[in-house]
Every structure is written in structure tokens, then in C-alpha cells.
């Protein structure tokens, strides 16, 4: 089959301590990624994008739904099978300073997954650690250093080396460059792209940085309050957003070219708490285009062009464009 990662109807709720209410972090999300491709998952904090990533790796048990990796049902796996499966799918975390033990040498950090998932002996692990360092373009002497002696970019390369140690087919990259300085960000992204090409790795790339997502992804899904409200080819979704939420989100992205200020779409209020999610379209209470039929059931993804769909009831009639708010005049020093 061509779909490498396939998740259907994933739901994840968390109970709130001392209360009967549930935090509905993810509400029926479908994810499909062909082998060796990248799906960019964007959305603001609390949209559920990291929860989706963790469910796909079964680091969290979904409340409902089905998840297949290469056709295998990973939710049906028994502990031993799941442990073996863990070598095939891995995660790269946002902040390498937080996710790597500061008291371990880089060598131990890189060799740790090899000890857990392979039967390599000490010399085999040593050799593989050296190989991994070459793969992530770091010099081998770094292996004998401690995390604080490396730059953020170098340390994230260690995070990537760890994730790659067991030659996984699928990587969940959760904001892998958000904590990095601009000057090293591109290097890390380029590294990821090369590794993907050379090893046919499938990526779920989670980020709120739209520029990075545009550069990395084949397809993009936009999440709001636990629901995918728009998806499609990256250039389509980011260049021609259809859901009012995607339009507002993209209009808030800041171009690095001074003077090039696009029209701004402003949504009223703030994202509601995922405890009381409005019925129907989750954006309805904040959407300037909302009308009565937004409040009923969650709208399906209406197709705009092949593969590009948006969950807005106005899409079929083409009345889904947000009114523009004039951008602020910018005062430039003479």
C-alpha cells in the first residue's frame, strides 16, 4: 500500500483533576502520509497538534480511532511488539536543552537508543555512533563533550542523531527548530531534508512557523481546537488558504521584507478552552462570517481543488473570504 502512516478518526481526551469535565485535545483527526513524504501540521498552541504527533507514535493512547504504520495496526500491538515497533518510529523534540540529559556525555546520549533497541556490542555501538555523527554533520570529537558545550543547533543535531540511531521509517518532528537561533535553523532543516531523501523517512512536521512548514512540507494540515479545518498540498494551503481561520493565521505571519505588509484579517477574542468546545465549526463563535448552519454539525472538508479541502460551510458557494482589516500604517525613519 502507498500510505505509510494512516490514522483515522483519532480522538484524545484528558480528564481534568478534581472535575468531571474532559479536555478534548483531539476530536476525530485523519492523517495520511505516503512513504518518504512530509505532512506539515500547523496550528496555534492548544490546537492539539503535538497530541496528534504523540498519538501517532502511541506515546499517548488515543481515546478512539485507528492508527496504521505500513499497514500494521499499532494500537493492537502488545507491549513486546510495541517495544520492537519503537525502533521504527521516533520523535525529535522542540528544545534539545530540555530533552537531553545534561549530565550525560553526547556519546552516551547517542548510544542510549542503540542499547535499548539493538544487540550491538560496545564496539559496534561506538562505530554506529561515529556513523550517526557523520550523518548529522558533526565532528566526532563532540561525542566526548557534554550538552552545555554545544550550540543549540549542534545539540538539535544530536537529538536527530538519537532519533535516527535505530534507522526509523517515520519521524515525528515536534517544533524541531523553534528553539534554535535563526543562523543555525536552515542548516538543521536542510539536514532533515537530506536524511529524508537518502533514507526515505516519512515525516510529520509539527510547527507554528509557517515559513519553515512551507519549506519542509509536501502537504499541510491546519488544526484548530483539536480539528483539522483545512488540508492540502503545501503551496495550495499556504498560498491560497480557504478556511477563515487559515486566512487569519496566514495573514498574521510576518514577512521579512520591510514594506511588504499584507492585508490583515483579525479574529475577535481568543481561542476557547478545549474543555468547552463549541458544537459545529469550532471557529464559529469568533468567525466574522459565521451564520446559523455553522453551529450544527462539524462541516466536512469541502474540496476546492484536487486534494485541497476546507471545513467551512461557505466554501461550496465561495463566500468564505474574510473581510480585510487595513494594515497599520508603518512609520519609517527618514
Amino acid at each position: 500500500m502507498s500510505e505509510h502512516i494512516e490514522a483515522r478518526g483519532v480522538v484524545k481526551s484528558f480528564s481534568v483533576r478534581g472535575s468531571r469535565s474532559l479536555v478534548k485535545a483531539v476530536n476525530g483527526v485523519d492523517i495520511v502520509i505516503p512513504r518518504g513524504r512530509t505532512l506539515g501540521l500547523v496550528g496555534e498552541s492548544g490546537s492539539g497538534k503535538s497530541t496528534v504527533g504523540r498519538c501517532l507514535l502511541r506515546l499517548l493512547e488515543p481515546t478512539a480511532g485507528a492508527i496504521r504504520h505500513g499497514g500494521e495496526d499499532i494500537l493492537a500491538m502488545r507491549p513486546e511488539a510495541l517495544r520492537r515497533h519503537r525502533a521504527r518510529a521516533a520523535m525529535v523534540f522542540q528544545d534539545p536543552y530540555e530533552s537531553l540529559n545534561p549530565r550525560m556525555r553526547i556519546r552516551s546520549l547517542v548510544e542510549e537508543p542503540l542499547m535499548l533497541h539493538t544487540d550491538l556490542g560496545a564496539s559496534g555501538r561506538r562505530r554506529r555512533a561515529g556513523e550517526l555523527m557523520r550523518m548529522v554533520r558533526l565532528e566526532e570529537f563532540h561525542l566526548d563533550r557534554y550538552p552545555h558545550e554545544l550550540s543549540g543547533g549542534q545539540l538539535q543535531r544530536i537529538g536527530i542523531a538519537r532519533a535516527l540511531a535505530t534507522e526509523p521509517e517515520f519521524l515525528v518532528l515536534d517544533e524541531p527548530t523553534s528553539s534554535l537561533d535563526l543562523s543555525v535553523r536552515a542548516g538543521v532543516l536542510r539536514l532533515l531534508k537530506r536524511l529524508q531523501r537518502e533514507h526515505q523517512i516519512t515525516f510529520l512536521f509539527i510547527s507554528h512557523d509557517l515559513t519553515t512548514v512551507a519549506a519542509m512540507s509536501d502537504e499541510v494540515a491546519v488544526m484548530y481546537l483539536g480539528t483539522v479545518i483545512e488540508r492540502g498540498p503545501a503551496a495550495e494551503v499556504l498560498g491560497n488558504p480557504q478556511h477563515p481561520y487559515s486566512q487569519a493565521l496566514l495573514s498574521a505571519a510576518l514577512s521579512v521584507d520591510p514594506g511588504e505588509r499584507r492585508t490583515r484579517h483579525v479574529l475577535e477574542g481568543e481561542t476557547p478552552s478545549p474543555v468547552d468546545i463549541p458544537s459545529g465549526c469550532p471557529l464559529a463563535p469568533r468567525c466574522p462570517l459565521q451564520r446559523d448552519d455553522c453551529r450544527g454539525a462539524l462541516p466536512p472538508l469541502h474540496e476546492i481543488s484536487p486534494g485541497h479541502g476546507a471545513a467551512c460551510v461557505r466554501v461550496p458557494e465561495g463566500t468564505n473570504q474574510l473581510p480585510a482589516t487595513a494594515p497599520l500604517p508603518i512609520v519609517t525613519a527618514s
Partner: protein, 339 residues
């Protein structure tokens, strides 16, 4: 006269490994009606510059040289008592991590009112009204109710707005904003920066905006200062810095922000180690990472004015322009062959 004028600021920090030369002669000016961006990588000294000016350095850091004049008076040498009267009144600060900066045990309305009473001598009732108005001004709906909230009851975006209201309550002449929108969602970031910009334009106050986000700088700042290893390596207007960077470090930053990853550039070894502030290289501090470095770069670097107030701390600011032109020519030739 500039509102804030930092001149040749040098700060040393004692570390177990020796004395770190954290600021090595920083000079920045901020005038009325201006938002000046201060950018650079982690550890470059952006926040340290702010803390020095505010007189909030920790016990191991000390100012060894330089001045920071605010309305003509040096903040660095004045007694703390006097500085305290200025801070929070004419000189306000907005920090990153707003929830951490708010008092967890007092309602936000009360905190804002207290600041107003302390510095402006307003009565209790008036201060309360002022606080509610300040919350309304930063776009908080139902401000009278929100004023009763505590820090932990607010979302990040809401807490950041409260902090801005707190900074604005006494109508300061200058706001030092240290990464005011880092960690906030894009749509919230846009709202908050729009608000700051509108305040500056309307009241004539000024902002020193510390950020590592070049998009923020390009969209909201008038001028930019680029920091590397405790020095300003380049300064100019937004158009000058983004359109015509003259320092190799600025050039790499601007190029990185426009990165599309389209071309098949080979990924090189990552040698991006931050400079060792205890043992900085002689001459240009960027030298070990500079693709154009030559022997002459080990000699003291001049601050070269390349025209129109655009300055670069580099031996060869003209070379970079030629290099850029060559790159363009090559791109055009390449395009010609390809098509």
C-alpha cells in the same frame, strides 16, 4: 538629543572559568517616536544590555565602563533610589514570560493601580479607574472583571497584554521590551505588536525592542542594531539592514530568514559554537565563523559609516557589497544558462 543614549557600555561577568566579556562597547541611541530593534543570537548580550540600563544586573555582573543617558542623565551612575523613581514611570520594561513577571498574589488590576499610585501619586479610586482603562486600552474585553483576575488565571497572550498595560500606565517615555511576543501565537503576536506600534505613533514614546525574530523587526521597527558577542556589529534603518547588509553576520542572518531550502545547497558541518566570552578572539569576534575572514581581521575593527547613518563593524564593508553584486551576476548567468 536622543531619549536613550548608550555609549561604549562594557559589562563583565564572573564565571567559574574566568571573567566573561559579555558587553564589549555597546552604543545605541533611541529617539522619540522610534522603535529600535536589537537583534542577535542567544548569548550576544541583548538582554544584558537592557538589564544594565535598568540597573538590574545580578551580583556577578558589573558595568566596567560606559554610560547610558536617559534624557541626558546617566542611569548607570545615579543612586538606586533615584533610578527607582524613573523605572516604572518614565522608563518601563516588558519582559518575556509575562506570568512570571506578575505578582501571583495580587490581582492584576491591583498591581497596575499600585504602580500608578506609587509613581503618579493618584488616589486609590482614580488609580483603580486608570488601571481598568489601561486594560481596556490594550484590547482586553470586560476590563473591570479582568482586573480582578490573578496571573495564573490568564492565558499567555492575556498576561502579556496585562504586562503592557502595566508598562503603559504611567505613560513612559521609553519602553524596553525584551522578547515581548516570543512564545505567543502568531495572531496574538500581531495584536500585541500592533498595539505597541500604535502607542508609539500616537504618544511619541519610544521602544527598544529586543527580539530574535527578523519578521518582527522588518514589520514593526524603524531602525535596527545587530549584536554579536557583546558588540553592535551593524546598525541602520530597517531598509538598510535588510536590503543592503554590510556585516557578514547580518548577511547570514538575513539570508537565513529568507531561506526556502529550494536550492540544493550541501549541508556543511555545523561549527556554530557561540563565541567563548572568556577568551574572545582578537580583532573581529565573528572572525572564526566568517566565510570571508582574512589575516587583517585579527586587528582592531573600525566602525565604518557606509552612508546615511548605516554603520558596520567590519574591515571590509565594501567588499561585501561587491560580493553581493557578484552573487547576483552569477545568479543571472546561471538563470540564463538554465532557461
Amino acid at each position: 538629543m536622543a531619549l536613550l543614549s548608550i555609549k561604549d557600555l562594557r559589562v563583565h561577568i564572573d564565571t567559574p572559568n574566568g571573567t566573561a566579556h559579555a558587553l564589549n562597547g555597546v552604543s545605541i541611541e533611541v529617539g522619540e517616536h522610534e522603535i529600535v530593534g536589537l537583534i542577535g543570537e542567544t548569548g550576544a548580550g541583548k538582554s544584558l544590555t537592557a538589564w544594565s540600563v535598568l540597573g538590574l544586573l545580578g551580583p556577578r555582573a558589573r558595568v566596567v565602563d560606559g554610560t547610558a543617558s536617559f534624557e541626558g542623565v546617566d542611569l548607570l551612575t545615579m543612586p538606586e533610589r533615584r533610578r527607582r523613581r524613573i523605572r516604572g514611570k518614565d522608563l518601563a520594561v516588558i519582559v518575556q514570560n509575562p506570568r512570571g513577571a506578575l505578582d501571583p498574589l495580587r490581582s492584576v488590576g491591583r498591581q497596575i493601580a499600585m504602580t500608578n499610585r506609587r509613581h503618579r501619586g493618584t488616589g486609590r479610586a482614580t488609580a483603580k479607574q486608570n488601571a481598568i482603562q489601561a486594560l481596556r486600552d490594550v484590547g482586553i474585553s470586560d476590563p473591570a472583571r479582568r482586573a480582578k483576575a490573578f496571573a495564573h488565571q490568564l492565558s499567555g497572550g492575556m498576561a502579556q497584554r496585562v504586562l503592557i498595560a502595566l508598562a503603559m500606565i504611567n505613560e513612559p517615555k521609553l519602553i524596553i521590551a525584551d522578547e515581548p511576543t516570543t512564545g505567543l501565537d502568531l495572531t496574538v503576536q500581531a495584536q500585541i505588536l500592533d498595539l505597541l506600534r500604535a502607542r508609539v505613533d500616537a504618544t511619541g514614546s519610544a521602544v527598544l525592542l529586543i527580539t530574535h525574530d527578523l519578521g518582527v523587526v522588518a514589520n514593526y521597527c524603524d531602525r535596527v542594531a545587530v549584536m554579536f558577542a557583546g558588540r553592535i556589529v551593524e546598525e541602520g534603518t530597517v531598509a538598510q539592514i535588510f536590503g543592503n547588509p554590510r556585516h557578514p553576520y547580518t548577511r547570514s542572518l538575513v539570508a537565513a530568514s529568507r531561506e526556502t531550502l529550494d536550492e540544493e545547497v550541501s549541508d556543511e558541518a555545523d561549527r556554530s559554537e557561540p563565541p567563548n566570552l572568556v577568551d574572545l578572539p582578537a580583532g573581529c569576534h565573528f572572525r572564526p565563523r566568517c566565510p570571508f575572514a582574512v589575516d587583517a581581521c585579527a586587528t582592531p575593527v573600525p566602525l565604518v559609516d557606509v552612508g546615511g547613518g548605516h554603520r558596520a563593524l567590519c574591515h571590509f564593508p565594501e567588499e561585501l557589497r561587491k560580493q553581493q553584486r557578484n552573487d547576483l551576476d552569477r545568479a543571472e548567468v546561471g538563470g540564463g544558462v538554465g532557461s
